[in-house]
Amino acid sequence: MQRKPPDNPSGFSRREFLRGVGATSVAASGLLVAGMPDEAAAAPGDPVGPGETKITLSINGENKSVSVEPRTTLLDALRNRLDITGAKKVCDRGTCGACTVIKDGRAIYSCTALAIDVQGSKITTVEGLGTPDELSPVQAAFVHNDAQQCGFCTPGFVVACTAMLKAHPTPTAEQVRLGLGGNLCRCGTYAGIKEAIVEAGKTASISRGTGGGGAT
């Protein structure tokens, strides 16, 4: 079935002729306003880019200013522009989970999120959970239960486990299936990870218990 021809063959709003995408065609027709910075006078919803734009990301509780192109993924912004390299680039297609970070409380793949599109969200990376000297309960449980070999998938698993245990401190097998189904390991550390979940879940429940809140 043939679709109706569009009313406006260019299809682009007028705004385009003044900025952004239209730059090359506009430049050719001599209309370009020289030196107009991308972020200047941008009303909410106005297009920005395709060049670099300064954005602010909330990462591990800190606001970080970073220049990105609209096409820059959150993962590349973290790793290549902010030198926060805990999240790993493995499949780069939202399949393996090595790039997992927590966005507003939920585990996401940072390789398929555009950095510019997560402004205003709270991002937590593996570095935000603990340090080698002060490991989080999940990180410590990964060490005790040897839930890591080469360790390249480990940060992603630690973050995914942390998000899962927050929702389900003593998860059922089905909750584990759903909670960690988005991460892959090659060396074969799943047995250790299963043990680590149990240990970290206990730690989490106990700390909740001593706080008087009780496990939910």
Binding site: S10, G11, V48, R71, R93, K103, I108, A113
Partner: protein, 327 residues
């Protein structure tokens, strides 16, 4: 990926105004799980990406007496965790759980699931939507183990990747679409998907400057279930799925059997569903419906195994639905 400009408007009208009238100029960004991948693979190279995340009224679930309304930008996880959806539409909950990855479920949206592009590996490798080289399809002679067994007389051989398409069609859902100047239209979920005849067409009825805004699922109290055959327990594409919905009241005429991952669109098999109408489903009837469901299957060279899987999925979906209490 090529460079593009980005806009994140806060109202629908502005968003639609930013969309090009032709495919290829602009792309809509919802959860990003498919679009960002497609951008990286270079199979779409828009000049502008319009994010809908800032448009608040595209999000949310409202359970009314007659229908459940779902904003297209509602994250899949919200639908998954919605108690009334879980109670009334287990076929939807099962389909979301079947995605297997909490990250995808957190990022992905309902609209994004319905509009995602096929995973056909010829398409994703750059041979176009129809998987062609020098004008000839690579698929019939190629590795088609995951391709269509229905609706595959060409030129499209891919399978629709949507998880929610089959259950929404089975449940009789309606989709709301808004285009230029706020023009709004409604299409039945069953009419939303279509098989492209050329590589420039898309797999649904949306025009390039239209936005899928809302999904409405009628509350008919149907027994419903989705059964997926997946290789892995975690994130994986199903090999086949079956969603069924039916009433056990005689002559209700609402029975529906819709298959997923077997055709370029979710595949409705009304002739099989008809056998279910007004009957009480048991093993024997389920097996007959399953047989009828594959009657018109025409496997390609490497995917005959899918026929057995479809029969199993249909049978098991029916039996799972039959166990539900009358709602």
């Amino acid at each position: 990926m090529n460079s593009f400009e980005y806009a994140s408007p806060t109202d629908l009208e502005t968003a639609i105004g930013l969309l090009g009238a032709r495919f290829g100029e602009t792309e809509i960004l919802a959860g990003g799980t498919d679009l960002v991948t497609s951008l990286k693979q270079g199979i779409v190279s828009p000049k502008r990406v319009v994010s809908l995340k800032g448009i608040e009224n595209l999000k949310g679930i409202e359970a009314g007496a007659d229908a459940v309304q779902i904003g297209a930008m509602t994250p899949l996880v919200d639908l998954l965790e919605n108690a009334s959806v879980r109670k009334s539409f287990p076929s939807i909950t099962a389909a979301i759980e079947g995605i297997g990855s909490p990250q995808i479920i957190a990022m992905g949206t309902v609209g994004g699931d319905l509009c995602q592009r096929p995973r056909c590996w010829y398409y994703r490798q750059g041979f176009g939507l129809l998987g062609q080289l020098d004008g000839e399809s690579l698929i019939p002679q190629g590795d088609n183990r995951y391709h269509a067994i229905f609706g595959n007389s060409g030129p499209a051989y891919f399978v629709s990747a949507s998880s929610l398409g089959p259950p929404l069609i089975a449940l009789g859902a309606t989709l709301e679409i808004t285009g230029a100047k706020g023009k709004t239209r409604k299409v039945a979920a069953a009419e939303f998907f279509r098989t492209p005849k050329s590589a420039d067409e898309r797999e649904n009825v949306l025009a390039a400057n239209e936005v899928l805004t809302r999904i409405s699922i009628p509350a008919r109290g149907l027994a419903n279930a989705t059964y997926e055959v997946r290789q892995r327990e975690g994130l994986d594409w199903p090999l086949v799925t079956a969603s069924v919905a039916f009433s056990r009241k005689a002559g209700a005429g609402r029975a529906s059997v819709v298959l997923g991952h077997v055709a370029p669109t979710p595949w409705n098999v009304p002739e099989a569903a008809a056998l279910l109408d007004g009957k009480s489903a048991n093993e024997e009837l389920a097996a007959r419906v399953a047989e009828a469901a594959v009657h018109s299957a025409r496997p390609l060279s490497k995917n005959a195994y899918k026929v057995r899987l479809v029969k199993t999925a249909v049978k098991r979906a029916i039996l799972a639905a039959a166990e539900q209490r009358e709602g």
